[in-house]
């Protein structure tokens, strides 16, 4: 030992258990901060990856520019990439056809592939020659094309133009779900064949700026300098939002909400470390008194405590960071398992540097700041404390226990918790913060459910529809499809439109649809009144309320004027929505296939939907396509479903991850804090045992202390948490979708249950220690 500070290491070895608890606290705080920040960062990275894949990497799109304006924008130093872009037949009703299939034509510069990864050429080259075109993969497969082949594109006028295939690129979800092709040509080719107006009207200039140039300001500078109407500038809100560069008022509100949550997380970390250090130093009053007695001055004591705190950080911070990295990796791996196609771009073992940095900063700075107060307190310890007799004294007691209201052990337990105001406030705040964090984060679940609608269980991966909307698909096809091993579910619908109907004195037009058992099962989720069974068994119909101007009640009779004659059906239930979109104001009735056939005489489907197993390949879809034959449209929704699923999974996983981390930390924090408090008083407990306190009374004393902390933690946490929940809900949900805030009963119940269970677990450990405690050893240590 060469320096008095070397005593830090020696003291740490002697006090391994107490040091371990403080270390655990620092580990938990660093873990909380870095995993939440890390998860947020990974979520932003993942959302950014998806946003770039689906919406493109461009930041702004300028419309109606002159050649000169385009040149000036492109020459700006902030512009990294730019491309002209124009498209025709986006609505797929203009009559541009490739092999009889509606086709979207896009013209852009080769640099567009940087701005819109969806447009990147997978095979072959960008169409640089005038009569060259790149096609989507679906066109390649279905028209059996290869690079260098010629393909004839028919125009709305009936004319045809032959292009040479220069390459192929991926389908987009829009194209596959509409069963359409995409043809990509150069801007020059587009100008020659597809431009309807002037170039100024047709083309947009897509621009990507350098990331940290202040994109909003650059855009407004460009508009001002080149006299461009700011309203005509489109922005990639999602990408800009994720770059924290959006000026959209709603995004600003989201940023504020995120900043508030980040602050709360940081504050929770600070409180946890502070209360742990406070308790650690407080229980060694005598030791510091002894140091003072031996001649250590106040500054030396402050230095001692600070060095001790840094010593804990040396192992605790890396451990907290390692835990958070493991959790983030686990979540990323889970995302890749849940939605492999969507998260291919996500790093398998990505490291979030901002998350780690936040963990280190919060850990280190908090430990140093938190060490200041106990260090000062330790320095103030009088040398007399070391030689005074009351060794059991943990803190300087100012008030006596109230033994009139409770039994002695309960009164002592309450006093142990509330005796020291500072310790009480820190402990209560650190417990309250768990509730506050949980309740503040929970409105994000509502936000998610609004912003990203989860994929309906009925969502079809592939739909076979009659081209004319009639009922022309044989039910045998559905039976055949059921035999296919990659098909998980097949469910068809028949459809009869424009049926004159009458309910009571009201005449209206109705649509009649048939469901099979699977669809009736899904319909249960949207049942508003009545029951499903009668409709499924063929003795009634379900009325759909969605978009309807009419309301029906179960038992109501409806007369339908069908081609076979007037038929009366009874409404057995009402649904809030159905598995289809229909014009507003349309009344829809749903019945079983048998009743539909009985009423209409139609025994064929209008639509067959199917869901696939995860083993499905494009080859399987092609096989189904050929099995369906001609005269039908095939809508392939796999890509779109995967995008919806992926976006939802990603957000849900990270959000529930946050909540799980907060819950876990709450549990550990409560257990650790109570264990620390008991450790601090173990000698005092030994004396009480010697005097005659039974183990049962000791346990009740610890329980009373725990309950006091938890009770006030719950009171403070619920008061602040519910207020913050209200504020966050308003910011995230009400301001956008108008939903009124409701009391977060379930969330409050969940976190309170967690706290109570954690408190029970927190009492269990010390109880065991008390049972095993040797009175003689404890007394001798005094």
């Amino acid at each position: 030992m060469k320096h008095y500070l070397d005593l830090v290491k020696i003291s740490a070895k002697k006090r391994k258990k107490q040091s371990r608890m403080t270390r655990i606290c620092i580990v938990l705080a660093v873990f909380l901060v870095s995993s939440i920040f890390g998860m947020a960062d990974m979520e932003i990275q993942s959302q950014m990856y998806q946003a770039v894949q689906t919406d493109g990497a461009w930041h702004a799109a300028f419309n109606g520019l002159s050649e000169e304006q385009i040149r000036l924008i492109r020459s700006r130093p902030e512009v990294v990439d730019s491309s002209l872009y124009a498209a025709v037949n986006y609505s797929l009703d203009q009559g541009y056809m490739l092999g009889g299939t509606e086709t979207v034509i896009c013209g852009f510069d080769e640099s567009m592939t940087e701005l819109m990864p969806e447009a990147a050429i997978d095979e072959g080259n960008f169409p640089s020659e005038k009569d060259e075109a790149a096609l989507t993969q679906s066109a390649k497969k279905r028209l059996n094309l290869a690079i260098g082949d010629s393909v004839a594109l028919s125009f709305p006028s009936g004319e045809e133009h032959v292009f040479t295939v220069s390459g192929f690129c991926d389908d987009t979800s829009l194209l596959t779900s509409s069963d359409a092709f995409g043809v990509f040509v150069s801007t020059e080719t587009y100008e020659s064949y597809f431009m309807d107006d002037t170039k100024t009207e047709d083309f947009q200039l897509y621009v990507r700026f350098t990331p940290f140039c202040g994109i909003q300001k650059t855009i407004s500078d460009i508009c001002e300098q080149l006299d461009i109407n700011p309203d005509s500038v489109g922005q990639n809100t999602k990408v800009l939002g994720l770059m924290l560069q959006s000026s959209d008022p709603y995004m600003m509100q989201l940023y504020f909400a995120a900043a508030l949550l980040a602050f709360l997380v940081a504050a929770a970390g600070i409180l946890m470390i502070s209360s742990s250090l406070n308790s650690n130093v407080a229980q060694r009053t005598k030791f510091f008194g002894m140091l003072r007695c031996l001649g250590a001055d106040q500054k030396q004591i402050v230095r001692f405590v600070r060095r001790e705190a840094l010593n804990w950080c040396r192992t605790a911070i890396p451990a907290g960071l390692a835990l958070s990295i493991a959790v983030v990796w686990g979540l990323c791996a889970l995302l890749r398992i849940l939605s492999p196609s969507y998260f291919t771009g996500m790093p398998v073992i990505g490291i979030s540097w901002p998350g780690l940095l936040a963990g280190v900063i919060i850990g280190l700075v908090t430990v140093l700041l938190a060490a200041r107060s106990p260090a000062k307190r330790a320095a103030k310890v009088s040398p007399l404390t070391a030689v005074s007799g009351n060794a059991g004294t943990v803190t300087a007691v100012k008030r006596a226990v109230n033994t009139k209201m409770f039994h002695i052990e309960t009164a002592l337990g309450i006093h142990h918790a509330a005796g020291s105001r500072k310790n009480f406030i820190l402990m209560v705040c650190s417990f309250a913060f768990s509730i506050i964090l949980f309740l503040s984060f929970s409105p994000a679940v509502d936000f998610m459910n609004h912003a990203l609608r989860p994929l309906q269980p009925s969502a079809a991966d592939l739909s076979i529809k009659t081209a004319d909307g009639g009922n022309g698909i044989s039910k045998n096809l559905a039976e055949e499809l059921k035999e296919n091993p990659v098909v998980k579910r097949v469910y068809g619908r028949s459809f009869c439109s424009d049926i004159p109907a009458r309910a009571g004195d009201t005449d209206f037009t109705a649509y009649l649809l048939s469901y099979e058992s699977e669809q009736f099962h899904w319909a249960e989720d949207s049942l508003m009144s009545g029951g499903i069974d009668a409709a499924a068994e063929g003795s009634g119909v379900l009325a759909v309320y969605m978009n309807s101007v009419r309301e029906f009640a179960p038992g109501q009779q409806v007369e339908l004027a069908l081609p076979s004659g007037a038929q009366t059906v009874e409404v057995c239930g009402t649904l809030s929505e159905g598995m289809f979109s229909v014009p507003d104001g349309t009344t829809i009735f749903i019945c079983s296939e048998e009743l539909f056939e009985k009423l209409t005489g139609i025994d064929q489907y209008s639509v067959i939907d199917m869901q696939f197993t995860s083993q499905v390949t494009d080859g399987d879809v092609d096989e189904i396509r050929s099995l369906a034959g001609s005269g039908v449209n095939i809508e392939d929704n796999r890509m779109g479903n995967s995008e919806v699923k992926g976006a939802y999974y990603s957000f849900a996983l990270f959000l529930y991850g946050f909540l799980a981390v907060i819950t876990l930390i709450s549990i550990f924090n409560i257990i650790n804090s109570i264990a620390m408090s008991v450790s601090a008083r173990l000698n005092e407990y030994g004396a009480m045992r010697a005097i005659g306190m039974s183990t049962g009374q000791m346990v009740r004393m610890v329980a009373a202390e725990t309950v006091t902390y938890i009770f006030w933690g719950i009171v403070a946490g619920c008061a602040a948490g519910i207020a913050l929940n209200y504020a966050m809900f308003n910011m995230l949900v009400t301001s956008r979708w108008g939903d009124a805030w409701t009391f977060p009963g379930v969330e409050t119940a969940v976190i309170l249950l967690v706290m109570i269970l954690a408190a029970a677990a927190a009492v269990r450990g010390p109880s065991r220690r008390i049972h095993e405690m040797s009175i003689v050893d404890t007394i001798s240590a005094l």
């Binding site: 007799g389 009351n390 060794a391 006596a400 002695i408 006093h415 306190m693 009374q697």
Partner: protein
């Protein structure tokens, strides 16, 4: 009337080379109202003897009867209650509960039994201890001597069969030591309180009824010295 009977008491710590025989076949007994002092060098085994007699430590072999009841035939829970009601402890470092006032500390064993203390009796104890004007003070506000007096009050309040005092004057100056000894003496003489006191200070044995010496785990009865 025999209150305490110790027979062939042995206590061994550790095994093999680390084996320490703290007490070897110790036997003795105390009559009601007897004040005995156990003297011996540091490490001689006197504290082990006190801990075993007080039911805080379990002997390796031998028996201890208190008022005819075998202390170690009882289950731990029962022994705790028995100890609380029948044995009073006085420690060298007082062991007062910092959060309780003087009065609360004194009645602590009664409160652990969920008994309503007899206020008249409590006042009487406070008066005997000379702490009536300090009854609402916290231990931190008392001198060492006053704190030890509180500890004595706590040991006596249940009127136990036996009071065990482990170096009760070890942390006190000579005046306070004298006061404490006077109090113990008073308890023994006027209240017929049986007391077993450990001390390494042989001057304190001047007024006690019997002196027992522990050396290397063996106990020798030196007989009565009371004037």
């Amino acid at each position: 009337m025999e209150i305490l009977k110790v027979e062939h008491l042995s206590k061994t710590y550790g095994t093999g080379e680390a084996k320490v025989e703290a007490l070897k076949e110790v036997s003795f007994s105390l009559e009601k109202g007897e004040f005995a002092a156990v003297v011996g060098e540091s490490g001689s085994g006197k504290s082990t003897l006190l801990n075993c007699v007080g039911g805080l430590d379990t002997p390796t072999s031998g028996k201890i009867w208190l008022d005819g009841q075998d202390l170690f035939a009882m289950k731990e829970k029962k022994r705790t209650v028995f100890r609380r009601q029948n044995i009073g402890f006085i420690f060298q470092s007082f062991q007062l509960i910092a959060e309780l006032t003087v009065e609360q500390n004194i009645i602590f064993p009664l409160l652990l039994d969920y008994q309503k203390p007899d206020q008249r009796k409590v006042e009487e104890v406070l008066d005997v201890l000379g702490l009536s004007d300090r009854k609402h003070h916290l231990p931190g506000q008392l001198s060492g001597g006053q704190q030890q007096r509180v500890a004595i009050g706590r040991a006596l309040v249940t009127q136990p069969m036996l009071v065990l005092a482990d170096e009760p004057t070890g942390n006190l100056d000579s005046k306070n030591s004298r006061d404490v000894m006077d109090l113990l003496m008073k308890a023994s003489r006027y209240y017929q309180q049986t007391i077993l006191m450990i001390t390494h200070n042989e001057h304190l044995t001047a007024g006690v009824d019997r002196v027992l010496r522990v050396k290397d785990g063996h106990l020798t009865d030196l007989g009565g010295v009371r004037a």
